[in-house]
Symmetry: C3
């Protein structure tokens, strides 16, 4: 694709009316047309920016970010997306303002949203909590909007929860689409979403879950590989199975990293904590049992250490399709001999894929911006065309 | 009112020239025309935003916020107001930069204000300090402006001090005006500003003081009710008395919540700390006597606990005018059985008034924006008309 | 100068093509024409703002700030500069996101820069680190831009490092140029950059180094005065010597404050830590030797205390040219009897120069904005002229 017309033609061929005035929680709640609309708008926004055309569709308005966890990359991606569209970011720092559940969520959600066009939330720490919290916030602002308290309905964008990481996985996939030359080229491609050893504890499940929940939509052969005991949420495995059936792909599981890598077109080796352990941790936190948490952490690190052979080595990479599968990672990776003694990936593998990995990450701001735009504008194709013909320069007199 | 012309006609009937290039510290320093100008501009700004018309009157410029206390709601209200007008917020976080008094105030005030069009300060913790500090900052930047250091004079907006909470109380009143159908409908209405029990310690006096200092301007019968020993600042009571005389209303005191609620049109039950105790705390802080503060806190909690019967119950609500007085609160409220075991208000009362309470809060960003606009523009009526005829959309192609 | 044409004529007489798409690390890496371009653009931007003409050349885009040290003034100067040009500031708070060296720097630099037009860094704490770190970040984003990861190359602006403080010293000099009536009036003027006593420990060397590295470019007689043992980096002294030879000025050293002040046209008395001690501290930190650091600190405070007579007193001021040399300081100053018992300057001297000192500081946002603009626009003279003729008001309908 090379002109804006290509993107708007594509948009005009898709049905995504349900996205208008709606949220983005989980990729598998969206139709395939809707996912394609996100990728298409993301590409179109990037095209306009590369051509120094402003995409500032908001003259004023706030984008609220709420992070329950430290975050640089997601914070900057959200800030970049908002800025690209003309929204100013306000962080709701929970250190500054205790946010609890129930009545308080409803009230705070409304109090911060008088001029909020979008709310981005990252809440990935506790099983059963993050996604539920986002829906609670969305419910509250929808009611506020209906009751005439809020003049607009703020769109909720899931910036990572306990179940899915849609902005990450949609960016991952847009990268894959570009690398392979189009959505239609992906049918039958083998994807290895595999666990990998890391010396750290308790990495979220949202990436592997998001990947098997999304990549199975495109007719790919998705293999989930992990050592015994590192299962992801069974609900999401069921989603992946159903997706594969519908898209004409497959979803299989193995406990052998070698088997997963064998002839793979794409590999995504990454550490995560076992679902059962995350659930246990959630309960321990709920009970305020900090000794229990420490004990669990020790146990998990010991368990991890039994699987140091789960690493993306040069040897394994050689077994992939033509020896050159596309290596994906959400970053930061634990690189053997660089960021840790033994980690997820050999330094030479990481080095070879650094530029593509950074490029993969570079799609995220556009994905977030596309999600916002599709929720705020009924006719994005016409909007994009008007932006192009108006042609306000992003940088004046460039 | 339903067209912009109504608002600008109203503005043209008012005298508020003194507000230009001036600060907003206390409502009782402003003429009644000036207060009406604030409400009118606030309504006009809301009208324009609801009609998707941009009110971005600043192309660049900073709004500085300085909070001496944690704050989500005020922070977001100020940020929303600035964003609505086109100003970018910069927080002066005192954790990051120690701000002291005297020489340092003068210097810091200038150093942060080179491109500041407005400075919003919340400093409500210590009696005799907050409002004085704001005036010190204002003095410093006025001198800086006169000396040619600052190209503009930053407007100071009191976001809550030890004496008044003008942005809150002006928003409260705009809500009341809308609920009762106009300023002229408020004469003779009975307002019960009453203390209520809360299990927490040391809530500021600025709301009850602000309410009796403002509501007495409108010819209302304002009753201040609290248990023995919970007096507010005597200076502000004197202001309320004088106001009532001039406006044709009344200002009375009682130590019976029932008496205050009897036939009231409006009730505002809310906890606060006794003025004398706040003064004592200020002295203890001044002397660094942290043991003394702990002892005082314990003492006050015990004192509070003797007045758990001061609660806005369904029974009390039934005694108000027609059983349906307008219930006001600045939020967050201590709700019995929800946010605490025993608190300021019954859950069922709060539930019934939730939407109006949130609506009450929703006026604050517009009030702040109106205060800024009235200080920055000599002829706001003409400005608003130009904005309407220019009609730059807030959201492009909406 | 009084019209924009004067500034653009001046610009058209200068050669500064190398500044385009480039960084600003050290003043002595820039030609004298390039420095003059910065001052000229800074003056032009101020002229436009004073005439209520918008200089918002970016419709969207981010300015990233990264401070390794607490900072109010530099933070606000950078925020003001970005806002003036239309960029939104995002702070990379290292508390929120650990930034290390090596691989991590490369990755983080790219991850935060997808939509960053400028990155401002302050890193002045450790000898041999700060400037090196900035160059590492710049290298990383240049590579990212070449590899197609970043659509633009973010400009790096040194907001203070271990070697130079270019935004401060360029602002200092612009103040001097204005006070003396032009660059051509500065030849032969005597400048006393002298150490002064402060009761605090370990103030950075970047200001005295920046001053001797810059003021020697203008044909001035620059004297560096300090007690024995308070040497600055020898490399920078060599820079100053070379500069003086080329510009027709002089660079001399003395260990007598009186000698430096004698007949001086400009005095800049300010505390700093000895270079050798800063190097030692850097090593102690590197080894995690916190006891060693404490011991060093104690030693240095004792050493400082031997030189309390190094103060800018009224007596010393009388010995300057006509008794009225221009007193400079980067602020905040340690004022005797005000901010400390004994400090860098007499209260009466400081009082007399307060307005000029604040004015000196007021140039910094414009200097930073000029550095950004000169890196982003190939033809700034034409740009400025277009801004003037377009004449978008900074404040609407002002």
């Amino acid at each position: 694709m090379s002109t804006l017309k290509d993107y708007t033609n594509k948009l005009n061929s898709l049905k995504f009316g349900e996205m208008y005035n709606n949220d983005f929680f989980l990729t598998w709640e969206k139709t395939f047309d809707e996912l394609q609309a996100v990728w298409t708008v993301a590409d179109a926004l990037r095209y306009l920016r590369e051509n120094n055309i402003s995409t500032r569709v908001f003259d004023s308005g706030l984008g609220i970010s709420l992070f329950r966890d430290n975050s640089t990359r997601t914070r900057f991606s959200f800030a970049s997306a908002c800025n690209l569209l003309g929204l100013e970011v306000q962080d709701l720092d929970e250190g500054k303002s205790q946010v609890a559940h129930g009545e308080t969520v409803r009230e705070t959600a409304n109090m911060i949203s008088f001029m909020a066009d979008v709310i981005g939330i990252r809440d990935d720490m506790y099983i059963g909590k993050g996604n539920a919290y986002m829906r609670e916030v969305s419910q509250a602002v929808q009611e506020g909007n209906k009751a005439g308290i809020l003049e607009q309905r703020p769109t909720l964008v899931n910036l990572q929860c306990d179940i899915d990481h849609p902005t990450q996985c949609m960016a991952d996939m847009l990268h894959v689409i570009h690398e392979f030359g189009g959505i239609e080229k992906l049918k039958g491609k083998k994807v290895a979403m595999t666990w990998a050893y890391s010396p750290s504890y308790g990495k979220p499940l949202s990436v592997p879950q998001g990947v098997i929940g999304l990549f199975t939509r495109l007719g790919m052969d998705v293999v989930l590989a992990h050592p015994e005991g590192y299962d992801v949420m069974p609900e999401v495995e069921n989603v992946a199975k159903k997706n594969a059936q519908q898209s004409g792909g497959t979803f299989t599981k193995t406990s052998s990293m070698a088997e997963a890598f064998k002839d793979a077109d794409i590999v995504y080796p990454k550490s995560w904590a076992p679902f059962a352990a995350m659930e246990k941790r959630t309960d321990l936190y709920g009970n305020g049992d900090f000794d229990g948490i420490k004990a669990l952490e020790k146990e998990l690190l010991a368990q991890n250490a039994q699987h140091k052979d789960w690493a993306c080595t040069e040897e394994l990479m050689k077994t992939t399709k033509g020896g050159k599968a596309l290596y994906l990672h959400c970053l930061p990776a634990d690189i053997t001999g660089v960021s840790c003694k033994e980690g997820e990936v050999d330094a030479s593998v990481f080095d070879r894929y650094r530029d593509p990995l950074y490029k993969q990450a570079s799609f995220k701001p556009y994905i977030i911006a596309a999600m916002i735009l599709l929720s705020k504008f009924k006719n994005p194709a016409s909007l994009l065309e008007q932006l192009e013909s108006k042609a306000t320069p992003r940088i004046f007199n460039k």
